[in-house]
């Protein structure tokens, strides 16, 4: 002669209250959903962007080094020797090296553009070997070669080409560069490891010295080293570039900057996850609130169920199940919402959408847990209600 609530009956009886008040149910689900969505989106976006950075490092390799002019002891800008590029190329462990130098000139669409409207574009001298050293690609046309370097020919960085309104080189476009017409012979694809090239117009050294008095001092040299000896080579480059003042040479490894970017996003992720957790907590409190009100409103029903033979446990289980269901529904909605947010963000940035499965699992578990915790107190109140008191209420 035991009272018994079938598992198959627990679910419909627990959802009855939710179905009776769809608006309130939706709102309390929303609270948890926002918290979960925030956490899933943070993890998804972080993972997607990290994957993108890792792919960049992969594409460009970790064996690229750059050598730039550093500072003199007095803080002035140092100058790399004219021979630096050739000396570096001869260094042990270096596969290839290509020098570039900024030229104090500007490039315009044509000769009628006011001089001030430079569009943030720069003019640089580039070795013909730059394309190979950077492992960069062309969108159209060709790169500078020793012959072209003597003529007023220019290769545009990806952003620069767009800014100058040039999509391809088929109809022989020209640009107004430092007071001369230059023919555009090629357009670069974006260069991940040397983004400064995206906004540059690249010309050969001979034409630069002839037209603009370029003295041959490089400002930045790109170096491709043997992968296994990259660190060692980095240590040799200062002395090779400027034997007299190796301390005035700045050697860096661009892949390190990208790796650092991942570390930085890691710190931001923790902060954002914390905010998501706070939202989740607030959502849980919302569920608890709604359930406490529901218990008060349904006192008569609780009394009736007790009179029909429900134990305290049965009544408590009914409300606890209700709250776990609310949490779970919030979790599912949140995962869907967070995935959508990740997807749209990744799509806009051109990344691959990656949502870590453990994060989804953890989010759902957290939502159910929050639902369960939120339901404990209301369920206990419902279970503790005296049947006669409950039946007397209106």
């Amino acid at each position: 002669m035991r009272s018994r609530l079938r598992l198959a009956d627990l679910l419909p009886v627990s959802t009855a209250g939710l179905r009776a008040r769809p608006g309130r149910t939706a709102l309390s689900i929303l609270g948890v959903a926002i918290g979960i969505a925030a956490m899933v989106a943070v993890l998804g976006v972080t993972r997607s962007s990290q994957a993108e950075v890792l792919a960049q490092i992969d594409r460009t390799g970790t064996n690229l080094l750059t050598v730039a002019n550093g500072k003199t002891i007095r803080g002035a800008e140092a100058e790399l020797p004219v021979t630096a590029g050739a000396a570096i190329a001869r260094t042990e462990g270096v596969l290839s090296a290509a020098a570039t130098a900024t030229v104090p000139q500007h490039v315009y669409r044509n000769d009628r553009i006011p001089a001030g409207r430079t569009g943030g574009l720069s003019v640089r001298v580039a070795d013909p070997g730059l394309l190979g050293t950077l492992d960069a690609a062309l969108v159209d046309g060709r790169f500078l070669d020793p012959a072209l370097a003597r003529y007023p020919a220019v290769v545009l960085g990806h952003y620069a080409a767009g800014a100058l309104g040039i999509a391809d080189v088929s109809d022989g476009p020209r640009v107004w560069l430092g007071g001369h017409w230059f023919s555009v012979v090629g357009i670069l694809a974006p260069v991940d490891l040397a983004p400064e090239l995206d906004t540059a117009a690249l010309i050969g050294a001979p034409v630069a010295s002839e037209a603009f008095g370029y003295t041959g001092h490089p400002t930045r040299i790109f170096v491709r080293a043997l992968t296994s000896r990259t660190a060692e080579v980095a240590g040799l480059l200062g002395r090779a570039a400027d034997p007299a003042h190796p301390e005035q040479v700045a050697v860096s490894r661009p892949s390190e900057a990208l790796t650092a970017r991942i570390a930085v996003t890691g710190a931001t992720t923790v902060l954002l996850l914390g905010l998501g957790a706070v939202a989740l907590l607030v959502g849980g409190i919302g569920i608890a609130n709604v359930l406490i009100i529901s218990v008060l409103e349904r006192r008569r029903e609780i009394g009736l169920r007790r009179a029909l033979g429900a134990t305290r446990t049965h009544v408590g289980a009914q409300f606890l199940t209700e709250s776990v269901l609310l949490g779970a529904a919030g979790g599912v909605a949140g995962v869907v919402l967070g995935s959508l947010m990740t997807w749209s963000m990744a799509t806009v940035r051109g990344w691959q959408t990656l949502i870590p499965a453990p994060a989804v699992g953890a989010a759902l578990a957290a939502a159910v847990l929050i639902g369960g915790c939120a339901g404990l107190y209301p369920a206990l109140r419902a279970a503790r209600l005296s049947p006669t008191e409950a039946l007397r209420s209106v």
Binding site: M1, L5, L304, L308
Partner: protein, 228 residues
Amino acid sequence: MTPVLELRDVHKVYPGTPPVASLRGVTVTVHAGDLVAVVGPSGSGKTTLLNLAAGLDRPSRGSVRIAGEPVERLGDRQLSGVRAHRLGVVFQQFVLLERSTALENVATGLFYRGVPAPERRRAAHAALDRAGLAHRAGFPVAHLSGGERQRVAIARSLVGRPAVVLADEPTGNLDSAAGDSVVALLHDLNAGGVTIVVITHDERIAASMRRRVSLRDGLVVADTGGGS
């Protein structure tokens, strides 16, 4: 045979300032097949008595046995089991699940016995039929008249064939015609073998019952017409 209800020297004191002694030593025994009216002025302890007999509350002193089970020795789980299996209760305010149909409401009478849903529905149909409301089975109870609602509540109380049906002022919220038909139903059911205890204010209804227990100030002042 064991009595279906046995209250012996039952006291009930509600704590408070001052404490209210609602029952002050009530002894009543109800046997299978009885039809008992409990009468008395307002505040005499009738509802208190019913709550104790229904296992919804526990006496401050004295013993209550429901179908032979001593309430004072049962935990919440076991006492709930007694309510689920041995008792049917009818309230003055009906207390129905307003969003459900008549049939679903009657079926909840078997909900906490672990009876599967199809079987609950079959039994609910039979009980609704006994209450003369088979034609309203699929109606939402919110659409039924007061008399019909009370019949649903009565069908719910007897769907599990309890040892005793306890009704607290079942006609209190009904007009006299609807009230009379509910009383007639109770007589019918009793004739069919259902043991019934009815609390009522109405002298006319009380007079129609075989046995009358009169309460005053928490004490039984008369117990007339009982067969045994």
